[in-house]
Amino acid sequence: MAAKDELGARGERLAERHLLRQGLTLLDRNWRCPQGEIDLVLRDGDEVVFVEVKTRSSVAFGHPLEAITAAKLARLRRLAGAWCEAHPGAGRIRIDAVAVIAPRDLPAVIEHLERVF
């Protein structure tokens, strides 16, 4: 596993733990379809939450949230549509972003933004 993939996987684990602690329940992890992959799908009350997790080891090359571009958000929206087709009766949905700054050997900083789209 490449170092960047390892960091990404660690970030997704940290984000998942953070969200579960907030009272959300996990529906899917790394859900794949021909159009791509959703990092996390959770339920928050009556809403289905699609989460894009972005992890960086430092902000030297920009904040992780800055890496979530409009194109990436548009793809996430299409994926959310595909997920809803595969799981009928999903109800209301929302798209969140989670930034994980996880320096080596230091506690990670997690920022969660709701309704980014």
Binding site: H63, L65, E66, I68, L73, A97, A99, E111, L113, E114, R115, V116
Partner: protein
């Protein structure tokens, strides 16, 4: 999160409007949205502000930052809003005091390193801020001298965004940086010279003094080398000092034109001498985005000298007709109309024909009569009709040069004394009217009991009017000139002699 508020000034011509800058930070993906009709240069403030803030040790949060410039319908131009936008954003983020930022006007363009660059038009912007009731302005250190010319305002010069934030209560250590200064223009040579340098042409020397005393426009006609330019350059030196208000207006226009104002307010009237290839826009002002003053506005309260006047484009010359009449230049664009003051004294100089030798004794003119007529015909009748003094200037002969050593010649200082007295007399007489100099008074005043010349003095003039040698407008102009001559002589009312000399000054040139 709180909303940050700051104020800046949007300039339109010399008039400024206060623009309120609101900044809001919302929990969303990082973005910088700037709304409220910014132009391209102002739209780029987003990148300047984010970089400058980061490099000043005050990084903006990685959230969505929305900046609104209000009133939203007023078009805003240029980079002078950078500092205000940055301070509003930092206030919204809680890095500086919100109350402190909202109380003052911020002017300045940011460099990526966080230093502030000097701006054009600081003087009118600070004036507008004072008129809108603000007591404090934060300006780039490079503009501090200029901003300090405005009375009744506290000027806070800052070198960088960091310094501005510290002034507003940010707890940071100041980092000394070298202030960015405006480029220093080459020191203008004081080549106006003394009136005593002019040899010969006593009529023209006298005419220039009459022009200075009464605020009359002048048309000098003569062959090359006769001294037309020399005479015109001496006119600003003959004019009295500007009043404080006029000096501020002159400096404001210079500031708006991007000429740095340094070393205090100049109280000497400006001289503008545009080249004859100047376009109409260069003369009256223009521009699609920021409307900039032209030569006529820069010559306000001073002298506009058009050398080789027939070589100017007819459109450029005729564009002067409206400002000559009203003293104001109004430039209309789709979005707005800018007004500039344009109460200047016009000096036109022309050769008598394309080769320049027509009518001289020493040169042979080979221009056809048609060519001569066409050449002088380029100066339109309506324009020349507004010029009170028309003077022939002759080349000096060897005999005059020898004789000039013995003749007394008036120096600029002595002439100005005489002109100041004449101007004071006219101002005293016109106390109850809106005018201050003879050239501006209306025809009705000239025919009222106060303004009419001595009884019977106008006989020569009446004959000229009857014969059709002069129009009614020309009649009034002769009377105005006669009043100036009378003021220079120190007599109480123009007599037949004054009217005769005024007629000569008006009709001297062909």
């Amino acid at each position: 999160m709180a909303i940050g508020r700051a104020h800046a000034i949007s300039l339109l011509g010399l008039e400024g409007a206060v623009v309120e800058i609101e900044a809001d930070i919302s929990n969303n993906l990082p973005a910088f949205v700037l709304i409220g009709l910014p132009d391209a240069a102002l739209g780029e403030a987003r990148d300047r502000v984010r970089s400058a803030a980061g490099n000043s040790g005050l990084p903006l949060p990685s959230r969505k930052l929305t900046v609104n410039l209000s009133p939203a319908a007023l078009p805003k131009h240029g980079s002078g809003f950078d500092l205000g936008i940055a301070m509003a954003a930092l206030a919204a983020d809680g890095q500086v005091s919100t109350e402190s930022v909202a109380r003052v006007v911020h002017l300045g363009e940011l460099g990526l390193d966080g230093r502030l660059r000097p701006l054009a038009g600081i003087l009118p912007a600070v004036l507008a801020a004072v008129r809108a009731g603000f007591g404090t302005v934060v300006v780039p250190a490079g503009n501090a001298d200029e901003a300090a010319l405005v009375p009744g305002v506290r000027v806070v010069p800052v070198v960088s965004l960091r310094d501005a934030a510290i002034w507003h209560g940010a707890e940071l250590e100041p980092i000394p940086l070298e202030a960015l200064m405006p480029a220093v223009p080459m020191a203008a040579l004081d080549d106006s010279g003394d009136l005593a340098d002019v040899i010969g042409n006593p009529d023209a020397v006298e005419a220039m003094q009459v022009a200075a005393a009464g605020g009359h426009h002048v048309y000098l006609l003569g062959p090359p080398g006769a001294g037309k330019t020399m005479l015109a350059a001496r006119l600003p030196g003959l004019l009295p000092d500007l009043t404080a208000e006029e000096a501020l207006e002159v400096a404001s226009i210079r500031s708006l034109a991007g000429i740095p104002v340094r070393g205090g307010l100049s109280t000497r009237p400006p001289l503008e001498a545009p080249h004859h290839t100047a376009s109409a826009a260069a003369i009256v002002g223009g521009g699609s985005g920021v409307i900039r003053p032209g030569a006529a506005a820069r010559a306000a309260h001073g002298v506009l000298f058009l050398d080789e006047a027939p070589e100017f484009a007819p459109a450029a010359l005729d564009a002067l007709r409206q400002p000559l009449e009203s003293g104001v230049i109004a430039i209309s664009r789709a979005t707005a109309t800018a007004r500039f003051p344009a109460r200047f004294q016009l000096v036109l100089a022309a050769n008598p024909c394309p080769c320049g030798n027509s009518g001289t004794r020493d040169g042979d003119c080979r221009c056809t009569a048609m060519a001569v007529r066409r050449y002088l015909g380029r100066l339109s009748g309506p324009l020349l009709d507004r010029v009170d003094i028309r003077m022939d200037v002759h080349r000096i002969t060897a005999g005059q040069l020898r004789a000039s050593a013995e003749l007394p010649r008036l120096s600029t200082v002595a002439a100005r004394e005489r002109i100041l007295v004449a101007r004071a007399t006219a101002a005293e007489r016109l106390r109850a009217t809106p005018w201050r100099v003879n050239a501006h008074v209306a025809g009705s005043w000239l025919r009222s009991p106060v303004g009419a010349p001595a009884r019977g003095a106008t006989a020569a003039l009446d004959r000229a009017l009857e014969r059709g040698g002069i129009t009614m407008r020309g009649y009034d102009r002769v009377l105005r000139l006669a009043w100036t001559l009378c003021d220079l002589d120190g007599t109480s009312r123009p007599g037949a002699d004054h009217i005769g000399r005024a007629l000569y000054l008006r009709k001297a040139a062909r």
